[in-house]
Amino acid sequence: MRRSLQLLALALALGMAAVATVPAGAQTVVGVTPTEIKIGNTNPYSGPASAYGTIGKTIAAYFKKVNDEGGINGRKITFITYDDAYTPPKTVEMVRKLVEQDQVAALFQTLGTPTNTAIHKYVNQQKVPHLFVATGATKWDDPKNFPWTMGFQPNYQTEGRVYAAYILKNIPDAKIGILYQNDDYGKDYVKGMEDGLGAAASKLIVLKQSHEVTDPTIDSQIINLKNSGANVFFNVTIPKFAVQAIRKAHDIGWKPTHFLNNVSSSYASVLKPAGVEASRGLITALYTKVVTDPQWKNDKGFQDWVAFMKKYYPEGSLEDDSNFFGYSAAILMAHVIKQCGSDLSRENIMRQAENLKGVELPFLLPGIKVDTSPTDHAPIQQERLAKFNGEYWELFGELFDAFRKN
């Protein structure tokens, strides 16, 4: 009798558990079937920022490779990417389409700071994982207020602090001139630099000059910076203007210690057009392997990427660092999906994204790893300084880790 009662209780408990879990489970697992998982993305494929669109195309190509090789845990990845032309209203529309109509399981590598800001609140209200956003702003690492959003690359402010620390230590009589793009990206870098310099900032920074992304040239700003007597040049510009700045400074005979932001560290699109002679001695902070750098020629991760590009994205440029970036980001996303196992609920995707320990990505410099936790939504936080020696970026100094606050 007791035995049968026990059995009955067990059966009841099992039944209740089944009743409780099945519908609940079916409800929360959005965008997932036994054979597919839907991932959503926005990128600028049209408009003035379309240079970044190649990141979205690389990611799509990588997921195709994953699917060709059988998918992840038996599921194929359906990657849905829309053009937002880098305008916030369009991003809102496209992300709502992804979440409400396409019912994606997660958003991944949505690109741009103003565009992601526009959807920040919405995705957190909807509780959609908003993973590895492709922007260097600081605000993505705020798990308390925005638990569903997670950054990816080291943020601009951190990088600004890396340079500041170097200047404080090595250039005692520094007079700093700054050229920055007049938007959130430029201002984040300047803030990082100012924070890093601390109380000395107002004394050390002798001139700040801004430019608009629509300006054709920045010659005037460079002349003013030279004239300010600055012996340190902090160059916060995108590749188009970085080329001009390097060349103009060289032409007018200004020879400061020149810190070039990571955004423009590409050899093919910046250093080569600016001229190898004019570029010699530039200092930048790197976390990735620059694709044209000969020191990575035999690197396994680099070679894998080249093989991937040739097979899956042949029209993409092998000189474009963005393609290595997108490829590596896609690998991280695939890693998260794999780590989720069979539970692809949004909660678990987020839990696994928050539980990345020492993950290596092909484009990361040796020693730099992806680490996240429920209180740390900034996956990549380490950088190393490098100097351009006329041929490639020569790494020097130790790994700078933002999380350890030096």
Binding site: A51, P216, N224
Partner: protein, 293 residues
């Protein structure tokens, strides 16, 4: 003092960039009475063609001249094929078609050549020229010379050649022109062809400074519009001068008016243009078209 001179010199160099494209805009406006929003993008496209030719192994000047020829034919073909169907539509419908061309050129260039920016060679020496403490870029000087040369050609063409006069007549009064035997349709096509050539020159002069990418001319075209507006859309010389004025004024405002600084210098330059327009509603050197009521 040195800094003032250096800023003026740099402003002239930048102004030369604006002027070169402004000339193409004025050219097409003179010849067809249409503002071509695609002018900058067509110039960018031509520059990519030149880049491809140089990459295929052609010497610079051969590639340069071939590009001019291709641009001319391209311009004529675009007029005959793309613009012709809306020739008699309202002017804004034609403007829409040029906007369509703008986005198509931009997108297709990115698709063919990718958005990765490419170095573009300059035919002039790479070494800057120093006079005292003031530095002149050799390319900047060369570019200004080329712009002046183009200006001279336009002036001579419209003033002294029968073809130039016929083109102006065709644009200005198509009906009467037809009556005196001018083939108006071909005059318009010729106007597009020549504007495309001048645009191509501008592109190939600008690309060594700005590096070649599909958005090469986006910003430049905005300034070129400002330059042409300031100088007057009916005056090639005015447009060039407008370019130089915009370049220099913007530099000086950014440098010397500290409360404005670099953040608002473009806004101030624009405001100044509007003030000039209020005094002279058709630009500094534009002529007012008298219309019969």
């Amino acid at each position: 003092m040195d800094i003032l001179i250096q800023q003026v010199v740099s402003g002239l160099a930048t102004g030369g960039i604006y002027a070169s494209l402004a000339l193409a805009l004025v050219m097409i406006y003179q010849a067809t009475d249409v503002v071509n929003f695609a002018q900058g993008e067509l110039a960018m496209f031509a520059t990519y063609i030149c880049w491809s030719l140089i990459n295929a192994g052609l010497p610079y000047w051969v590639a340069f001249l071939s590009t001019l020829a291709i641009a001319f034919v391209g311009g004529v073909v675009i007029e005959r094929v793309v613009i012709r169907p809306v020739e008699n539509a309202p002017i804004l419908s034609i403007v829409m078609v040029t906007l369509g061309l703008l986005v198509i050129c931009n997108s297709v260039a990115g698709w063919i050549w990718t958005y990765l920016q490419k170095p573009f060679p300059s035919p002039f020496s790479a070494n800057p020229i120093k006079v005292g403490n003031v530095v002149f870029g050799a390319h900047d000087l060369g570019e200004i010379e080329v712009t002046m040369l183009v200006l001279l050609c336009i002036y001579l063409f419209f003033r002294f050649t029968p073809l130039g006069l016929a083109m102006r007549a065709a644009a200005h009064n198509p009906v009467s022109s037809r009556l005196v035997g001018i083939r108006v349709g071909w005059m318009l096509a010729l106007g597009w062809g020549l504007a495309a050539v001048f645009g191509a020159v501008a592109g190939m002069m600008v690309a060594p400074v700005l590096t070649l990418e599909p958005n090469l001319m986006g910003g430049v075209q905005i300034y070129a519009f400002a330059a042409a507006t300031l100088g007057g859309f009916t005056s090639p010389g005015g447009a060039v001068l407008g370019g130089f004025i915009v370049g220099v004024v913007e530099n000086l405002v950014g440098t010397y008016v500290s409360f404005i600084g670099t953040e608002l210098k473009f806004t101030v330059a624009l405001a100044m243009i509007i003030v000039v327009l209020l005094v002279r509603p058709t630009g500094l050197f534009g002529t007012t078209v008298v219309k019969r009521v």
